[in-house]
Subunit: 202 residues, 2 copies
Amino acid sequence: MPDIEPLRSAAPLREFVKDLAGLLARKPEEAAILRDGGALLGRLVARDDWLPESCAQPHPQRYSQYLLHADSAQRFSVVSFVWGPGQRTPVHDHTVWGLIGMLRGAEYSQPFHRAPDGTLAQAGPAVRLSPGQVEAVSPRVGDIHQVRNAYEDRVSISIHVYGANIGAVRRAVYEADGTRKPFISGYSNDFLPNIWDLSKTS
Amino acid sequence: MPDIEPLRSAAPLREFVKDLAGLLARKPEEAAILRDGGALLGRLVARDDWLPESCAQPHPQRYSQYLLHADSAQRFSVVSFVWGPGQRTPVHDHTVWGLIGMLRGAEYSQPFHRAPDGTLAQAGPAVRLSPGQVEAVSPRVGDIHQVRNAYEDRVSISIHVYGANIGAVRRAVYEADGTRKPFISGYSNDFLPNIWDLSKTS
Ligand SMILES: [Fe+3]
Ligand SMILES: [Fe+3]
Ligand SMILES: [Mg+2]
């Protein structure tokens, strides 16, 4: 089994999962999910003492996306994105609502607009996220972006929440000329941290 | 990270989790949970080709309980119990509803009745579970039992579902004279199998 130490305390993540499930059970509109879920995520990333080491490891060649929790009904998933120095995503969409909370380091998110003729153009300047800050994406508020580590010499980590089992969602990446290519991201981890054992963690 | 191969197909477990979440979302009475959830569990344990190897490993000294999935709101948890040859639980209770589906090998469940004066007595004969069979426990239908591997020379595995995050529930084990001792079981695994990556598993 893994040679990585278990969690000291998964309580903040467990509380976040519980609170978000409670929010979604009330079947709010997307705007309320982004507002109230964003506040919950902001509280989660206001502290950086709970992310399991196993889900904070950079990969030398590419960014990593570690599933932390998937909801039973796949109403949502929580993922840790780990950017090695200088790493970036392709331009991509999500097709579902998403919330991005900066935990460690910093990242830039560059929004794009896709014109009816298929061409891509930057939609305003890149947004810089610092620890504790939260950003939203969705087909309604802007769904296409490219994300990169703000640093060339250190790891950055953001916590993402999506309105689906995001690793299994059929979505797209885009080339510079706007060409759309089907994309299913999957996850980097074959094992999730056990955040549910209150006999070991507080 | 773990040196154990990822799942070939987690689809049956993923479907079970989704279907049980759907059942519980309708807020049924306990009797309906045991009946309809029991049918879902029966379907899950009717085949034995989906349990991750990491959650099928016996421990030489004691039975193992591997968390497979915890619901976001801790409405339920799914656990694989692995009995090494001749291993058994203490006499114990659950305090919440539970369903036990036999996956591999066989086990005996001996029910107990606790009299108002605190003494324990066997409540009828032990029930033998064979692969595909499902049994229920709860404070309503009988909550105290002792479970043991039916075999002295091989591993048996049953899949348990409980109406809570069972590893964190404050419950009890009982000595032969009926003495009640507080008990929180925890889990044997620090990492859960990632059953949500449909890009790797079908
Ligand atoms: Fe994104
Ligand atoms: Fe039991
Ligand atoms: Mg869940």
